[in-house]
């Protein structure tokens, strides 16, 4: 049990460090790299929870596809360096306020209602196997699944509409 805890807290430190690095980096590409590290540690958390499918999907989709997209956008705009003069006055107080709300909520959830967590029944050992996920996804969660596919289609249409050159004007 202690080995698990050491692993967990080590990873948590890496995740928080990566998140801070992402926020504080002056260079957008470094921020993206820190975010990749953060996603990778989150994937390991999923593994520790016994959910390998979600962990691997996390790496493939978030750390892989989405971050490549981010990197391309950063490079596309040539926007690696943040302008130091750029400061928006109203964002910072709101951000601090929202962070405080989130922090209070989390503390309340963990310490105030933490008792609920211990009462959850232990799950079956194969609850996260790909077979089980497939069966659940295509029986109980069939409708959300199909809605997801439509959502992805809409996203694709959105992409294409956004990048389309306005032919009428030129």
């Amino acid at each position: 049990m202690t080995a698990d805890l050491i692993l967990f807290f080590g990873l948590a430190a890496v995740a928080i460090g990566a998140a801070l690095g992402m926020l504080l980096s002056k260079n957008a590409v470094y921020s993206a790299l820190f975010l990749i590290l953060n996603f990778a540690t989150v994937a390991v958390f999923f593994l520790l929870l016994g959910a390998p499918f979600i962990a691997m999907a996390q790496v493939a989709v978030y750390a892989g596809a989405i971050m490549v997209l981010f990197l391309f956008v950063i490079m596309l705009l040539g926007a690696e360096q943040l302008l130091t003069s750029h400061k928006s006055g109203w964002q910072r107080p709101i951000a601090i306020l929202l962070t405080l709300v989130l922090l209070v909520e989390s503390i309340y959830l963990i310490f105030g209602r933490g008792r609920l967590l211990s009462q959850v029944a232990p799950v079956a050992s194969d609850y996260a196997s790909p077979e089980a996920i497939g069966e659940l996804l295509f029986s109980r969660y069939l409708l959300p699944f199909e809605v997801t596919s439509i959502l992805l289609l809409v996203a694709m249409v959105g992409v294409i509409v956004l990048i389309k050159k306005p032919k009428a004007n030129n």
Partner: protein
Amino acid sequence: MLDQWLFVGIFVSIAAVFPLLPLVMARFLAPRKPNRIKQETYECGIETVGDTWVQFKIQYYVYALVFLIFDIETVFLYPWAVSFDVLPLFAVFEGVLFILILAAGLFYAWRKGALEWS
């Protein structure tokens, strides 16, 4: 199952340290006499003009975005393929429908010219 992942973890750690060895070895063995001309961009070629990090074609971004969408769809197909045998016919049909929606998306992107390298 977690054991198996622990071994993947061990292997990943060893693999992460491994490429450092040649770099460290080269640090001790290789000569290091840098000078200004050697360190120029594209040394021994024509001098570069202007900034490297310029805006480039939007097409790369489009490919990355369409890739992201298809990648998610592919990941969703895997559990379907695994439990193909045990699923009822209806669910199998739903998976096929999913593939068709995927194909429709590709067809749309194609028709709208998003895949053209203009």
